[in-house]
């Protein structure tokens, strides 16, 4: 309801946005009548929510494509992009955090910190263009833009998704590394770790089994939040690589005052967030058996 009302606060409506430079007043008026844009906001909301409850998200006012079809075609793209980015972030961020914590203050720690901060600071836009120039323009190894669904050709799918995933994954990896490092430092200083070391448990086991497992809780929480953020779309990355995902759908929806699209994207993103939080709660139990006992 909040999003619906906020959209209505924007000057202009879908009809004016559609008309653009032409400003054909008769056509604009006809569109307003046809899509109930001339009715009070409360009535418009009632009509929309009534349809949604019957499973009808309506049509995009701009492209006339059913919104449900738009969501169905873009959700898998965004989910895939988010998963691959997350895998890259986990594969880089967590080991880097662990290494950094176990070698605190030493050159490896400083190097890992430097890389993590760079990953966080480098704008996605710049990194994306640089990767395109290197891997697509100069070396010709990977395509510069576009997206091929995995069921059409899984190899081309991976080749199109790799660069954007690296761009998104780099940023998340930086945050992951910082969190994993601080959590590890905390657990490595705990009494049970000292006890384990005193009992001559091999250092590898101390780090991987005793410390890391306990340090994972904040990393899982962060992972869920970051994953949710990736699912709500990564506009710039999608734009640079011409990936038809959620972020661009949402931004174009706002600029075109395409209310049905914006509402549906926000709704689906919110549902994804809820699901991810649930998933994170389940993962806590997997990572930390004590939580099972306490519940």
């Amino acid at each position: 309801m909040l999003i619906f009302s906020l959209q209505k606060l924007l000057p202009g409506d879908a009809a004016t946005a559609l008309a653009g430079e032409e400003g054909d007043t008769a056509a604009v008026a006809a569109i307003r009548v046809k899509y109930n844009l001339d009715r009070p906001v409360a009535v418009q909301y009632g009509i929309w929510i009534g349809k949604v409850l019957r499973g009808d998200f309506g049509d995009s006012l701009r492209s006339r494509i059913p919104v449900a079809d738009l969501i169905a075609s873009k959700l898998p793209v965004t989910v895939e992009l988010a998963i691959v980015s997350m895998l890259i972030a986990l594969a880089v961020g967590v080991p880097a955090g662990v290494l950094s914590a176990t070698r605190q203050g030493r050159p490896l720690d400083l190097a890992a910190n430097f890389v993590a901060l760079s990953g966080l600071s480098v704008p996605h836009f710049w990194l994306g263009i640089m990767l395109i120039l290197l891997f697509a323009v100069r070396l010709g190894w990977l395509p510069a833009s576009g997206y091929v669904p995995p069921w059409d050709d899984w190899r081309r799918n991976l080749s199109t998704i790799l660069l954007p995933s690296i761009v998104l994954g780099t940023g998340v990896a930086g945050v992951m590394m910082r969190h994993a490092r601080s959590a590890m430092l905390q657990t490595l200083g705990a009494d049970y770790v000292r006890t384990a070391r005193a009992k001559s448990v091999p250092e590898r086991l101390v780090v991987m089994k005793h410390a890391l497992r306990n340090a994972l809780i904040p990393v899982i929480t962060l992972g869920a939040v970051e994953f949710g953020r990736l699912l709500s779309g990564a506009v710039l990355t999608e734009q640079i690589f011409a990936i038809p995902g959620f972020g661009k759908l949402l931004v174009d929806g706002v600029f075109n005052r395409d209310y049905a699209v914006v509402q549906a994207v926000v709704l689906v993103s919110a549902l994804c967030y809820l699901l991810l939080n649930l998933l994170a709660d389940i993962l806590y139990f997997v990572a930390d058996p004590r939580l099972r006992g306490s519940s």
Binding site: G12, I129, A136, Y147, A242
Partner: protein, 500 residues
């Protein structure tokens, strides 16, 4: 096999996959934006016209020098009173669903343009009051009043013919699966991803279609679009930015061609639209602003001289440009004098403009030029729709917009400056001007029309309801392997005739 070996094999296969192995000839064109509905009746966005050019044939087309030539209609004949025009249609034409194209189909399409809710074509051909089917391949369009520019409208979306059967079946959602009579038929659309078209085997002019498939890929960022052209992912890109030209020219695998656009870049001044018109209501004030701008320097500074300075509703290359009134040199002392005479020596006003690079940079240069004449112009950025809405309401002193242009001069002037013109947000109203541009709609003789528009231009340059500043060149970037491309001033890429 170790994990590293598996990963290496996976990476190698991914890298190999980057090179497409298909034997089909596929042309991939980068678009600046994602088109709106692919339905000629309700389509609005300029970018959609590039897709339509491959998908939907029109009754007529225009040549690069703006002559009207046959496409689905083979000839036309005006009645003596210019109140009706008879069109003869091309025989043996089929729509993509196999339905025949004939006079009934033309009547259906015109009726649809005129009656469908939200039609953006109605205002273009609204003077058609009825369509007579003379025989299977002849129609007569009867007009409520003479309207010579009608034929030019039929060279664009108003002249596109869609399959009546498909239109009836799909109704409002026709744009999701368009069925036309163009050289390529619709395969699929991934919104904001791509639009795929396949060669139509039964096309009436198939000897001139040399590609198997065309894909349109919207990439809004110009740097990323150019990178895709350079990497070979795209073979053509539309509306290349002047700042990217050097890179294309330096690359031997690419080429770039440009022609002056049909439209113009313009600052509209509020002459009489609501209370905010008070600041610029005096014609001397508007003339002073006009005189304080050095258009030639502006184009040189902001666009590396790649665009064309302009002061009229058509570019200097148009036959309808009034050559007796070229772009005037800047005259700051005269501007100051006019402001003093108008009692506004310290004129201050606000220019609204969208956050778009070309206009932002140009506005800053203009701001500096005006300051030298004692005029304070404040820049206020507003998102495009918000700005256009403010324009309609009269909630502006000046705003910076553009017009994509039409092949017939009427489309560039009547709607903008006639008293009841739909785009006339300035509310400029001059009876003498109205009489001239209305008369120009009714006479077919180009020489006579030219005289009328020359006179109308004189009035516009005297009254200054708007500042026409420059005309872009429409640059198309293409892979050097692409042959057969002829640029048109409307910027639309005609895919027919292209080959590798």
């Amino acid at each position: 096999m170790t994990v590293s070996r598996i990963l290496a094999a996976l990476l190698a296969s991914v890298l190999l996959a980057a090179a497409p192995a298909s034997a089909e000839t596929v042309l991939r064109i980068g678009l600046n934006d994602d088109p709106d509905a692919l339905d000629p009746t309700i389509s609005r966005a300029y970018v959609g016209r590039l897709v339509f050019a491959a998908l939907c044939d029109k009754l007529f087309d225009v040549t690069p020098d703006l002559k009207i030539v046959p496409q689905l209609a083979t000839s036309y004949e005006w009645a003596a009173d210019n109140r009706s025009v008879t069109l003869r249609l091309r025989p043996g034409v089929k729509f993509h669903d196999g339905e025949p194209f004939n006079a009934d189909a033309v009547r259906f399409n015109i009726d649809r343009h005129l009656t469908m809710a939200g039609s953006f074509r109605k205002s273009e051909i609204g003077e058609i009051k009825s369509v007579d089917v003379v025989n299977d391949l002849t129609v007569r369009l009867n007009l409520s009043q003479p309207l010579v520019p009608l034929l030019a409208a039929l060279t664009d979306r108003a002249g596109m013919m869609i399959s009546p059967k498909a239109a009836k079946e799909l109704g409002d959602r026709f744009g999701t699966r368009p069925v036309c009579a163009g050289p390529f038929k619709f395969v699929e659309r991934v919104a904001q991803g791509k639009i795929v078209l396949q060669k139509f085997a039964d096309y009436w002019d198939k000897a001139n279609v040399h590609l198997d498939r065309v894909e349109f890929v919207p990439i809004t960022d110009s740097t990323a679009r150019l990178a895709s052209l350079r990497s070979g992912d795209l073979q053509m890109i539309e509306r290349v930015s002047p700042t990217d030209l050097a890179q294309i020219r330096a690359d031997t695998r690419l080429k770039v061609v440009g022609v002056p656009e049909l439209g113009f870049q313009v600052i509209r001044l509020n002459v009489a639209n609501g209370p905010k018109s008070k600041t610029l209501a005096d014609v001397r004030v508007r003339q002073a602003i006009d005189l304080a701008i050095d258009r030639t320097a502006l184009v040189k500074a902001v666009f590396n001289d790649e665009y064309i300075p302009g002061n009229q509703f058509v570019s200097p290359s148009s036959v309808y440009y009034n050559k007796k009134l070229p772009v005037k040199p800047r005259d700051v002392p005269r501007a100051r004098q006019l402001l003093r005479e108008a009692g506004q020596p310290n004129l201050a006003f606000t220019l609204i403009l969208p956050p778009e690079r070309d206009r932002q940079e140009a506005a800053q240069v203009i701001q500096a030029m005006l300051a030298e004449a004692g005029i304070t112009m404040t820049l206020q950025s507003q998102e495009n729709v918000t700005m256009l809405e403010a324009g309609k309401r009269g909630d502006f002193e000046a705003y910076f917009t553009f017009w994509s242009g039409r092949p017939d001069p009427d489309g560039n002037i009547f709607t903008h400056y006639a008293c009841k013109g739909a785009q006339n947000d300035s509310h400029y109203c001059n009876a003498e001007f109205d009489a001239l541009v209305t008369k120009a709609r009714q006479v077919a003789d180009p020489a006579q029309r030219k005289q009328l528009y020359d006179k109308a231009t004189e009035l516009l340059l005297r009254d200054v309801p708007a500042l026409h500043l420059w005309h872009r060149r429409v640059f198309t970037g293409l892979n050097a392997r692409v042959e057969g491309f002829t640029p048109h001033p409307d910027g639309i890429i005609r895919v027919k005739g292209l080959r590798f």
